[in-house]
Amino acid sequence: MAKLHVSANINGEPTEFLCEPYETMLDVLRNELGLTGSKEGCGSGDCGACSITLDGRLVCSCLMLAAEGGEIRTIEGMAEGDTLHPLQQKFLELAALQCGICTPGVLIAAKSLLEQNPDPSETEVRFWLAGNLCRCTGYDKIVRAVLETAADMKEVSR
């Protein structure tokens, strides 16, 4: 069977690609489009390393078919040019990462949280990020970085 021709929008850019019907969006992002920021941890929706947003909603790119298309945002679209997103900057300042495999997914998930809830409690952060596993056990720094970013962004918008 011929490959499928898919039109999507990836990080604001209209993008066309060919894929097999069974390929996941994660496969296409990494292998076809060279967007290797999204990571494959488990490949079964447990670890969150492949987190992206699809039509504005947080999803695992390993659990969607590339053929579905849609409006996709990945870690590559998070910074504006050379200017890091406040979450990215804060993660650096607080060393909220060690090996970095989970970091793109954590950042995408945290950005999605702050868009929905600009002033989350620690409990809300922990529940929202429950699907992002960090095997370096850096959760405390991650949670602190998200909370401090939220506080900073609130200060800026005031």
């Binding site: 069974y22 079964s44 909603r57 659990l63 078919l65 053929a67 429950a130 699907g131």
Partner: protein
């Protein structure tokens, strides 16, 4: 990998047409949070994937004039949680659906998929059964209704006929003084599969329980409606003796497996405990005096 196709029809007629024509090699794709995992594990190798998310009817959340709800089979947990009304009317059903997986999984997973996946431990299923929900199915021979408790046939199997697609859930109107709840036992706080799940739906009038439905998950090959437990509650003031009787009925309804999540004895014991706790929450929501 053998030949495989992907179709995303805009209409239900078209979806049923291609799905039924492809026979048992076809799989319906809603959120994909079970299907893609099963494909990756090699458990299923679909010849055709029919994505139902582009069909308008699969995505509706509609409060009917009589106060019931229609929820499309592909509506994700996250979308349902954002509905301003659904969670107020059916908090137990909503919390059951929202317990499934992570934030990421909630962005995709649907109650329709949870039911059709056929897991005895699916969290939304006991809550839907307790709610008295029915599903609309459409197949090559047209449409029919089925009670949710009649859908599961065994682990991974349903009573849908070949070529039939689940279209939506219909939840009945609620009398004054009604409340529902769902609790599950898991060994951790998040992101796990139920060891036991319990859905309860009550109506209370002047302190007396007039309507009750109880369903248990993960304690038998299918999710079970436990009528004996409901009978023990109906007509009572939810006093300790009635709760003990309902709890015993829940334990008696269990036919569980021993596995790494829980032993047979543990699951049976927990089913009785969860019944009491779930009734407590449902009764509070019903406005118990």
């Amino acid at each position: 990998m053998t030949e495989i196709g992907y179709l995303a029809p805009d209409t239900l007629d078209e979806a049923v047409g291609v799905y039924s024509a492809a026979g048992d090699k076809a799989r319906v794709l809603a959120g994909g949070t079970d299907l893609l995992v099963q494909m990756r594990a090699g458990m299923v190798r679909p010849g055709l994937i029919v994505d139902i998310k582009k069909i308008a009817e699969m995505n509706i959340i509609e409060e009917t004039v009589d106060g019931g709800f229609n929820v499309g089979a592909a509506v994700s947990g996250a979308v349902l949680a954002e509905d301003p009304r659904f969670g107020k009317v059916w908090p137990g059903v909503l919390e059951a659906i929202n317990l499934i997986g992570s934030t990421q999984v909630q962005g995709r997973a649907s109650a329709g998929g949870n039911l059709c996946n056929g897991s005895p431990a699916g969290d939304s299923v006991p809550a839907m059964i307790a709610a008295g929900a029915t599903v609309t199915l459409q197949g090559p021979d047209g449409r029919r209704q089925m009670l949710v408790e009649e859908v599961p046939a065994g682990p991974g199997r349903t009573n849908l006929a070949p070529g039939e697609v689940l279209v939506n859930f219909t939840l009945p109107p609620r009398p004054q003084g009604s409340g529902d709840a769902y609790l599950r036992m898991i060994p951790r706080t998040e992101m796990d599969i139920a060891v036991v799940g319990c859905g309860v739906n009550l109506t209370i009038v002047d302190g007396v329980c007039t309507v009750a439905r109880v369903a248990l998950g993960a304690v038998a090959p299918t999710v079970r409606l436990v009528e004996a437990a409901a009978d023990a509650l109906i007509g009572s003031r939810l006093d300790p003796a009635s709760l003990d009787a309902a709890s015993a009925a829940c334990r008696a309804a269990c036919d569980p497996i021993d596995d790494k999540r829980g032993t047979i004895a543990y699951r049976i014991q927990v089913a009785g405990v969860l019944l009491k706790r779930t009734v407590g929450i449902a009764a509070d929501r019903a406005g118990r005096a």
